[in-house]
C-alpha cells in the first residue's frame, strides 16, 4: 500500500496559493489530473513514477478531485494555472463543455488530454484509449461468448460520461448483424452497492439473460459477485472492462470470459515523457490526428495468470 507522506497535502496546499517565485523548488511541475479515485489511476501513477525516475529534473504529481464533477476539476486546473505549472495532462470529466477551461489551460501551459479526449479544445495531443475501438473489442468478446446469439445487459455508472457512450457505441457497432440483443443499460450513479443490486435485479427479472457486461472498472466485479451468489455461473457469461483484482480472479476461475483492459501505465508514462518533449520543443512524435492511441488488450484464461502477477507487482511496488 502506498501512502502519501504526511507533508504532501499541506505542501500541495501551500504551493497552490504561493506565487511561483516563492515556491521552494524551481523545478518545473507537470500535473496529471484524473477524474475520480480508482485503482486504474494507481497504475497510471506507476507510469508517472517511472517517467519521474528518468527525468528527475521535473516535479511530477497526480491530482485526484474530491468529487467526480467538472466543477471540482475546473477548480483544480485553475489552482494549477495559478501555480504556473509547466504542463497538465487531464482526464476531463465533461470534455464537451469544458473547452473554455481547457483552452485557457492550453494558453498557459502544455496541455495533454488523457483517458477521455476533448478534440474541440486546443490540447496538444490525446494519449489514451480509443473507447469506440475498445467497445468494438468488447463486442467481439461478447460474440465469442454467445456465438449463437442471446440477450445481453450492460452495466455502467452513468451514461453521461463520454467513455460510457463511446464504449456502448463500439459494442453496438460490433454486434450489428449478430443475434445478440442488448436488452437494456443499467446505471448506478457510481454507487457500488447499487451496481450490485442492479445485477441482482436483472438476474431476478430476466430469466433468459445470457450475457452481462460491465463497462466501468467496478461493474465487472459486482457482476461477478452477484452471479456467484445467485449460482448462475453456468447460465450467464460475463465480459468486462478493466483489471480489478476480482475481475481477474473471475477470469481465472472461469466465471468471466474476458476483460478488455487499457494500459493506464502507458497513459501516465507517455503523457509525462510527451509533455517534456514538447517543453523542449520536440513535437515530432505528434501524429497528424493529434491522437496517440494506446491499444487495449484482451485478458482471458490464456493470459490471466501472467497478467495478475504483473498487476500485483505494479500495485505493490512503489
Amino acid at each position: 500500500m502506498n501512502r502519501r507522506s504526511l507533508l504532501a497535502a499541506p505542501a500541495a496546499l501551500a504551493l497552490a496559493t504561493l506565487p511561483r517565485g516563492l515556491a521552494a523548488q524551481e523545478k518545473p511541475t507537470l500535473a496529471f489530473v484524473v477524474n475520480v479515485s480508482a485503482d486504474f489511476w494507481t497504475i497510471a501513477r506507476r507510469g508517472i513514477e517511472k517517467a519521474n525516475r528518468e527525468h528527475p529534473d521535473y516535479n511530477m504529481e497526480m491530482i485526484v478531485p474530491g468529487q467526480a464533477s467538472a466543477a471540482e476539476q475546473r477548480r483544480i486546473v485553475d489552482a494549477l494555472l495559478a501555480r504556473k505549472v509547466a504542463g497538465i495532462a487531464i482526464s476531463a470529466i465533461n470534455p464537451g463543455n469544458s473547452t473554455d477551461m481547457l483552452n485557457r489551460a492550453a494558453e498557459q501551459c502544455v496541455l495533454f488530454t488523457t483517458d477521455s479526449d476533448a478534440p474541440k479544445s486546443n490540447r496538444v495531443v490525446y494519449i489514451g484509449t480509443d473507447n469506440v475501438a475498445a467497445g468494438r473489442e468488447a463486442g467481439k468478446q461478447m460474440m465469442r461468448a454467445l456465438p449463437n446469439g442471446g440477450k445481453a445487459m450492460l452495466f455502467v455508472g452513468t451514461m453521461d460520461a463520454d467513455n460510457a457512450r463511446e464504449r456502448v457505441q463500439g459494442i453496438r457497432e460490433a454486434l450489428q448483424g449478430s443475434k445478440i440483443e442488448i436488452v437494456d443499460i443499467r446505471t448506478d450513479e457510481s454507487d457500488i452497492a447499487r451496481a450490485k443490486r442492479n445485477v441482482e435485479d436483472t438476474l431476478a427479472r430476466y430469466s433468459d439473460i445470457n450475457l452481462l457486461t460491465g463497462l466501468w472498472a467496478y461493474n465487472t466485479p459486482q457482476i461477478y459477485q452477484a452471479v456467484k451468489a445467485a449460482g448462475a455461473e453456468s447460465k450467464v457469461k460475463i465480459v468486462g472492462f478493466d483489471e480489478d483484482a476480482l475481475t481477474l480472479r473471475g477470469i481465472a476461475d472461469g466465471t468471466i470470459l474476458s476483460t478488455v483492459v487499457q494500459q493506464p501505465y502507458e497513459f501516465g508514462y507517455q503523457s509525462m515523457v510527451g509533455m517534456i518533449k514538447v517543453l523542449k520543443g520536440d513535437r515530432g512524435f505528434i501524429p497528424e490526428s493529434k491522437q496517440i492511441i494506446i491499444p487495449t488488450r484482451i485478458i482471458d484464461s490464456s493470459n490471466v495468470k501472467e497478467f495478475q502477477g504483473h498487476m500485483r507487482e505494479l500495485l505493490r511496488g512503489a
Binding site: V64, D184, R197, A245
Partner: protein, 327 residues
C-alpha cells in the same frame, strides 16, 4: 402498530401489489431475498439515524463513516491480517467512539448537530481518501476471511444474514426505545429538553447516548456493506447513504424536530425505499428516474402523514374541549 405505521404498511402493500401485477417476478423468491438483503444493509444504520433524529439531532456523517471505517476494516483484514472478530470489534468500537465524539460536541460545546456531523462528513471522507491514497481497497488478494464473509453476506436457513442482523437490531432497539426508561427519556428530550431537564433528567447524557448507539450501528453497518460490495472506493463508498437513512426515518414517521418516530416505522420506511429502488429495475423504468421516483413517493408520504396527523390532533382537541365544557 400506530395509525402512522399502519398507513405506511398499506402504502407498502399497494405499491408492492401494483408492481407484482405489472411484473409477477417482483414476488419471486430470488427478488424478495435480494430485497431482504438490502433492507438489512440499509435498515441497520437507518435505525441509528432514527434514534438520533428522535433527540432532535441529525447525523450527516454516516456515509463518510462507512468509507473511513470500511477502508480501515479492509486494511485490518488484508494488510494487517488481524483475526476477523478483532477487526469487526475494532470497527464497531471506532463507530461508537465517533458517535460519542459527536454526542459530546453537541451536548458539551452546544454545537448544532447539523454542523458537527457535516464536518464529520467532510473530515471522514477526506481521511479515508488520504489513508488509501485514493485507491480502491478490496479483498482481491486477501487470505482467510470466509467465516466473516459468510456471516456478513451469506444466508442462514435461506435468509440473507444482513436481514437477520436487522431483525435482531430492530428487536433490541425496539425494546430500548419503546420499553426502557432510556427510551422514554429519549422521546422527552427530543420533544422538550427544557422540560426534561426540569424533571431531573440528565438530558446531555441521553442525547450523547443516542449518538453513541447511532455510531455503533454505523460501525456494524460498515461491516455488512463492505462484505456486500467486497471493495471500498474511498471517494464514493457510502456517498449519500446518510440521506437514505434520513429518508427512511422520515418516511417512517420521525420528525426532524425530534421526539417522534418508532423502530417499526423506520424499518417500514427502509423497506419502502428499497422496494422503490427495486421496482425501477423490475418494471424497466429508466435507471435515471430512480431518484425522482424515490423523492416523489417520500414527498407524497410525508404530505399524507401531515394531513392525517393534523386531523387526529384536531379530533383529540375537540374531544377534550367538549369534555371540559361538559363539566
Amino acid at each position: 402498530m400506530s395509525k402512522k405505521e399502519l398507513g405506511l404498511a398499506v402504502l407498502l402493500i399497494v405499491i408492492g401489489g401494483f408492481t407484482a401485477i405489472l411484473n409477477p417476478l417482483f414476488l419471486s423468491s430470488v427478488n424478495l431475498l435480494n430485497m431482504a438483503n438490502l433492507i438489512g444493509l440499509f435498515g441497520v444504520f437507518s435505525i441509528g439515524q432514527g434514534l438520533i433524529i428522535i433527540t432532535g439531532g441529525i447525523d450527516l456523517s454516516v456515509g463518510s463513516m462507512f468509507a473511513l471505517l470500511g477502508v480501515i476494516l479492509v486494511d485490518l483484514l488484508v494488510n494487517y491480517e488481524l483475526p476477523w472478530p478483532l477487526a469487526v470489534l475494532i470497527i464497531i468500537g471506532a463507530g461508537t467512539t465517533l458517535g460519542l465524539l459527536h454526542g459530546l460536541l453537541v451536548t458539551r460545546l452546544r454545537l448544532q448537530p447539523f454542523v458537527v456531523t457535516l464536518c464529520g462528513l467532510l473530515i471522514y471522507r477526506g481521511i479515508a481518501r488520504y489513508y488509501t491514497a485514493d485507491s480502491t481497497m478490496g479483498f482481491g488478494y486477501a487470505g482467510d476471511i470466509d467465516t466473516i464473509t459468510w456471516l456478513a453476506s451469506g444466508r442462514s436457513f435461506g435468509i440473507p444474514n444482513p436481514f437477520l442482523f436487522l431483525v435482531v437490531v430492530a428487536a433490541v432497539m425496539g425494546v430500548v426505545l419503546h420499553r426502557t426508561v432510556f427510551g422514554r427519556y429519549l422521546y422527552a428530550v427530543g420533544r422538550n429538553d427544557e422540560a426534561a431537564r426540569h424533571s431531573g433528567i440528565n438530558a446531555d447524557a441521553v442525547i450523547t447516548g443516542a449518538y453513541l448507539l447511532g455510531g455503533g450501528l454505523a460501525g456494524l453497518a460498515t461491516v455488512l456493506l463492505v462484505f456486500y460490495t467486497s471493495s471500498v472506493s474511498p471517494s464514493s463508498f457510502g456517498n449519500f447513504y446518510e440521506l437514505y437513512a434520513i429518508a427512511a426515518a422520515v418516511l417512517g414517521g420521525c420528525s426532524l424536530r425530534g421526539g417522534e418516530g418508532s423502530i417499526l416505522g423506520i424499518v417500514l420506511g427502509t423497506v419502502l425505499l428499497q422496494i422503490l429502488q427495486n421496482l425501477v429495475n423490475i418494471l424497466g423504468i429508466p435507471s435515471s428516474l430512480n431518484f425522482a421516483v424515490m423523492g416523489g413517493v417520500i414527498l407524497l408520504g410525508v404530505i399524507a402523514d401531515q394531513q392525517l396527523g393534523r386531523r387526529k390532533q384536531k379530533a383529540q382537541l375537540q374531544r377534550s374541549q367538549a369534555l371540559a365544557a361538559a363539566e
